[in-house]
Symmetry: none
Subunit: 196 residues, 4 copies
């Protein structure tokens, strides 16, 4: 097992394996993405993965961490840059879909993992996502931009709508993400704003 401070070559291998794992997850789905198949994709021996990650759980965790970092890096700055809650919510939705456009395979891999590890450590991931979103919603209710909805229900609806997209894209890879983005932002703008 590698020591805690990883060498350069070690990191390169890890990155390569993570990439192949993402491809395998996105292409084959969680079930079929076995260690052996990931290794075959990476053109390495199956033992190498265990050597670098200690086991499948660690590999999956590394994949999740990697993709979440990617996503946070893309989305958080865009959301933080907004000056109103309404704009932040729009940026939230837009940056989510933008992430899908730029990093489709990593996102699909992430969704595969989260959906399949039912009692695993990634149900917490979903709770975190909802809590983060609720902060934006709370902001808008504090400022009076948003109407007086139930935050948790609204968060479930927004995230549900967003999370439906990757699954939809698996079956319909050529669907126009731009139209979808416009419509989703409109929907939740109408649904959250304080009526005149």
């Amino acid at each position: 097992m590698p020591s805690e401070s990883r060498t350069f070559i070690e990191e390169a291998r890890r990155a390569q394996i993570i990439d192949c794992a993402i491809d395998a997850l996105a292409t084959l789905g969680y079930q079929q993405a076995s260690m052996t198949k990931i290794a075959k994709l990476a053109k390495i021996s199956p033992g190498v993965i265990s050597y670098h990650f200690g086991g499948k759980d660690e590999l999956i965790k590394a994949v999740v961490t990697h993709v979440v970092e990617l996503a946070v890096g893309l989305m958080v700055p865009r959301i933080m840059a907004q000056t109103t809650a309404a704009a932040a919510l729009t940026a939230y939705i837009e940056s989510n879909l933008e992430f899908m456009r730029l990093h489709r395979n990593p996102l699909i891999a992430l969704v595969e993992v989260i959906l399949h590890d039912r009692d695993g450590p990634y149900s917490g991931q979903q709770e975190t996502a909802l809590t983060d979103l609720e902060k934006v919603l709370d902001w808008g209710q504090q400022t009076g931009e948003f109407r007086d909805f139930d935050q948790r229900s609204m968060a479930i609806a927004i995230r549900g709508a967003i999370d439906a997209v990757p699954t939809y894209l698996i079956s319909n890879p050529d669907y126009d993400l731009g139209a979808l983005t416009t419509e989703l932002t409109t929907i939740f703008s109408l649904a959250t704003r304080r009526p005149a």
Copy 2:
């Protein structure tokens, strides 16, 4: 393999196995719901399932068909009873969540199957669901009740919001479905209606 016209006993056996498969799927999750475990739950031999259904795929298909029939039987009459598209959409959402309340295990089983059989025959199921929903949306746009949104995008958002609920309920079984129902109907009422 049994002939197409099944005897009464044959049907009873199939129904019993389907019920046990639903329980196994909902309780154990897709991954753990092996033929052996389903058979043990049903207190029958694992061979019987293969005998009656030909294989696991057929069993899963039978489960899906059964649950969809249950859902359609509950939801369609309620939706058809409405006289406006807006009321129909509300009834659509309400009856979906009502189905969750009344048949939680069958619904969870259905969700498990759809989520896990990625390239299986159930992506079609999702397409059907979207198409059906679009009929309601089209109705509302024809009558002028609804604004001029993209139907497919709106359908994805509505179904995504609804489909997020069972997954959420797995982690939070005691969440108040009533409040959620009220909020979801409000959200999509606001999101679809023609602005004054």
Copy 3:
């Protein structure tokens, strides 16, 4: 997995597998006695063992239980039939070696398991053996037949001498067990008896 009340055929298979496991353990040693090799010896598929025993641990446990039952069945009556502690101790040693003569492979298998499962559940087996032997020693000290030795130390010595025999027999299969038996009984008779 088989139900608790086993069928006749089930029991026969278990017995066959246990026998083959004993042969594999005695012939190949603990390390080399893998499930695959045991299965090959029994001319069955490796999955069958897991099917009947649930796993390697259960198989080993079944082997131990089987051999211990064999041994107890042979030895306990002989020991219980004695009227003095000295005679009981002699019967204890004799019946132990007699068991080796009659059931060499089962005994070697048992020794292999006990020696290799260092922190496993069979160190308790050793403690049990010592405690049982101490009962005989205590009896002799109570009646005054035996001198005032430390029971635990004496038990370790007696069991150590007995347990050395199977290991010795592996390397020297043709050694005269009769002479050994006579000598061991003499040794511990002299070592335990109250001096005149």
Copy 4:
């Protein structure tokens, strides 16, 4: 592979690795003492061991040789210093147990190796031990100090009693070795001496 005449550094490395292998064997047991783990204990690369010893077998052999040398160095002088066979036998037993007290880990490592390498080259080790012990026994029979027992049987009993101790100590590390030593010497003094 290094040439036969080893450099000083080479020897130091070997000694360090042997020590770590002993610790690994005693702490983890034979099964768990893999090359990788031994290397980790020694804070070196696993390849180094193969480099210095050629393979695991050679490493194990080096461990055995080292411990046997340690043991012989401690025990032989004490035994040789005695003027009667009875005293030599007592010294034999005492120095064996003294070795356990002073070098518990090396001894446990040795026992682990001997027990697990069944058909390996260490059954010869046991034969050597028995032959050496028989020299003492023969001495006593020649001088008439000892009664007319079968030497091989007596040797098996004595060594068996001694060899049982390390195994016992693994489970009961705090057992009083002093009492045990006293009792073992008494037992075999009584068992060997010529009756009055």
